[in-house]
């Protein structure tokens, strides 16, 4: 996330990425870093969707990398992690698979690292499913899926042969949570009730909470 390394891409890779996305309407991204001593790029007349976004018409300036098969497995696993229940919709209903695809396809260093973990993990999951049942993960029955998930859901308790799956699951679970709760339709279930206007003075902390926490003397 260091701003001095805007993309963690080599200059050549960055230019290649630029060329590849130019047709999709992308303009100059962050390739002129501090410490840059090569000749700097010319001004671009095109509005950059990254540096100067149009909030009314956001541009998603990179191609999605994950395959339909990968997305299918992501959907199945994401819904196991965050299913539809009384506390809100399923992960797939609020675009978590699309979010993970976008996340893993972004050209930044952190996202590329995550992409390796996710892709490798999905591959591991399929191999493990095949080894156990000669089927892909998304083709398994629910009990069979859960058996594998239980083996990898806790990194501290996972057996040595499941460590790769466990590392993937931990990161994947975080991405699911991030994608899920950044969708406004989940907020009420979570307990976020903001992003609405209030007239008059800010009302502050409800009295019941003040009493529960013993904060009367500092109100």
């Amino acid at each position: 996330m260091k701003p001095t390394e805007p993309t963690n891409l080599s200059r050549r890779a960055a230019l290649k990425w630029l060329a590849g996305t130019a047709a999709a309407g992308a303009a100059a991204p962050a390739i002129a870093a501090p410490n840059e001593t090569e000749p700097t790029p010319g001004a671009s007349a095109v509005r950059s969707p990254l540096y100067d976004p149009d909030y009314a018409k956001p541009v998603f300036p990179w191609d999605k990398q994950l395959s339909p098969d990968e997305l299918k497995i992501i959907g199945v696993l994401a819904d196991i992690i965050l299913p539809k229940d009384d506390n809100g919709p399923a992960a797939s209903e609020v675009g978590v698979p699309e979010f993970i695809n976008e996340w893993c396809s972004a050209p930044y260093g952190d996202n590329r690292d995550d992409c390796e973990v996710v892709r490798g993990g999905l591959g591991w999951l399929n191999t493990e499913s095949f080894r156990r049942h000669e089927k892909r993960f998304d083709e398994l029955g629910n009990a069979e899926r859960i058996a594998i998930v239980d083996d990898i859901c806790d990194p501290a308790k996972a057996k040595p042969e499941h460590k790769v799956g466990a590392a993937f699951f931990a990161r994947f679970r975080q991405l699911c949570l991030g994608g899920y709760y950044t969708h406004s339709s989940t907020w009420k279930h979570l307990g976020y009730v903001g992003n609405v206007t209030i007239g008059g003075p800010y009302p502050g902390v409800p009295q019941a909470i003040i009493e529960k926490l013993g904060l009367q003397d500092v109100v």
Partner: protein
Amino acid sequence: MPILTERKTQPQYDAIVVGSGAGGGMAALILALNGMKVLMIEAGRNYDPTTETPMFNTPEMAPLRGDRTPDRFFGYYDATVNGGWTVPGEPYTNKPGTEGDFWWWRARMLGGRTNHWGRISLRFGPRDFKCASTDGLGVDWPMTYDDMHPWYDRVEKLIGVYGENDGIENAPNSSPGVLLPPPKPRVGELLAKKAGKKVGVPIVAAHRAVLSQALDGPRLAKELFPNNSKAQQIMATDMSLRAPCFWATNCIRGCSIRANFQSTTVLIPPALTTGNLDVITDAMVREVMVGKDGKATGVHYIDKPTRSDRVAKARVVIIAGGTCETARILMNSQGKDKGGLGNQSGQLGKNLMDSVGANLSAHIPAMEDLPPYNEDGAGGLHTYSPWWLVREHGKLGFPRGYHIEMGGGRSMPGVGSFGILDKTSPGTYGSKLKEEARRYYGASFGFSGRGEMVPNKDCYCELDPKVVDQWGIPVLRFHWKWADYEIKQAEHMQNTFAELLEQMGGKPKPQSGKDAIKKPGEIIHEVGAARMGDKATNSITNQYCQTWEVKNLFLMDGAVLPSNPDKNPTLTILALAWRSCEWMMEEMKQGNI
């Protein structure tokens, strides 16, 4: 609002103002209200907060759910366009041997960085103006707090600042009736306040440039602009039109209802209403032009859309491009010294300072699973701690203080909001995971220190001899090394925050000062590259921001600050600009300029 269509300039102005942020916006407003013909030149594009502010947009409407990226470091909705710590085509470099690469935040847009800042508005105190007399380090300011007090009052009335008078040493009170009432604290802030009482850290209402209630435009305009009926009329209307905060959305997105302060909503619109201000955007100033008589005649700039060179002329030139950009313009201008215009003292580019920054946060079990209530509030902090150990420096081992900013609780969820579940809820998935997310969401709280750095000889900027930007203008090269003072201060911050968090029930893990201290430039409070002083041999300008070398050249941004007290600089930049403009107009009347 500033919708600018013409790209023509008049042959001659009374004043040119370079930059449209806090200093430039204030200068343009005050001069235009007093009948001067002003040209404002902004390097970035035109920007209209009334139509371009995504106040209520939700994360699912944004790439990566609005998460921060190296391109948009404060998230997708940050009101910084065409900017950040990197700007395509506008590089800067670090000198070999520097210990920490300097990060230079720029916003290439009308209003500059005032569009996205934290709105924390703290007055410098009496000791801050006499720092060298107090502890022998750095230099004193060429004026006292008493000289500045009325100008702080004026600025606070004009822009609207919420807060309270707490009578704390070196954290001055405003005059009665100046401050707006602060919003009530959030639950985490109350827990912090309770912890502060036990630990001995005062936690009081923050001072922020946000309207907690509507302004009484007619009354304030009369007080602010006596004997100027046109100014009274324009400002009475404009100030009354600003809406009070409706306690939603993060201030960093900007504010289309004009409740918080940004140059583009508070300063530039009434300045345009006077009819005395022309604004050209996408115009990158290369240098100040100086005539044979040694006076500034105007500026040479690049018209960016056409990539052509232009000149604009005026009786006085005010540079307010942002600390480092202002220094760079002077370095690229021809002066009596080879190091640039106004540099006979040799101080140009030196004394560069940023705030010392360090953070620490922890999970607070008492905040788990509380009944939901709306914690958005004023889009920034409601409480803070002014520096409370003013008289303890003999024991502390570092000479200057810091204030504490704080936050936590149930703000709008972000992609990274659930990291804590890795620790609290390993192995959990399914409906149970949703329950855990609800339990732990908003149950963390953190503190950030913002401390004063002492200027030192290792922190400076200069022109890079080899590199130019896309306009062919030589770029800045930085050199930086924190002194032990700053490292020790950061360590003290860590220990204080840990004490507070423990008292709140958390289990914090404080770092060493060396590991905790933020990058130079990361706090975005860089000041001091063209400091003011009491004589021409030790400074670039006098106390009215007038360069010693060129009588009709003024610098009205953070560049002139001789020290960088822990208090965020924007309020002081605004007050200095207003004060300096009034003095400058009087000098012009007297025929001295």
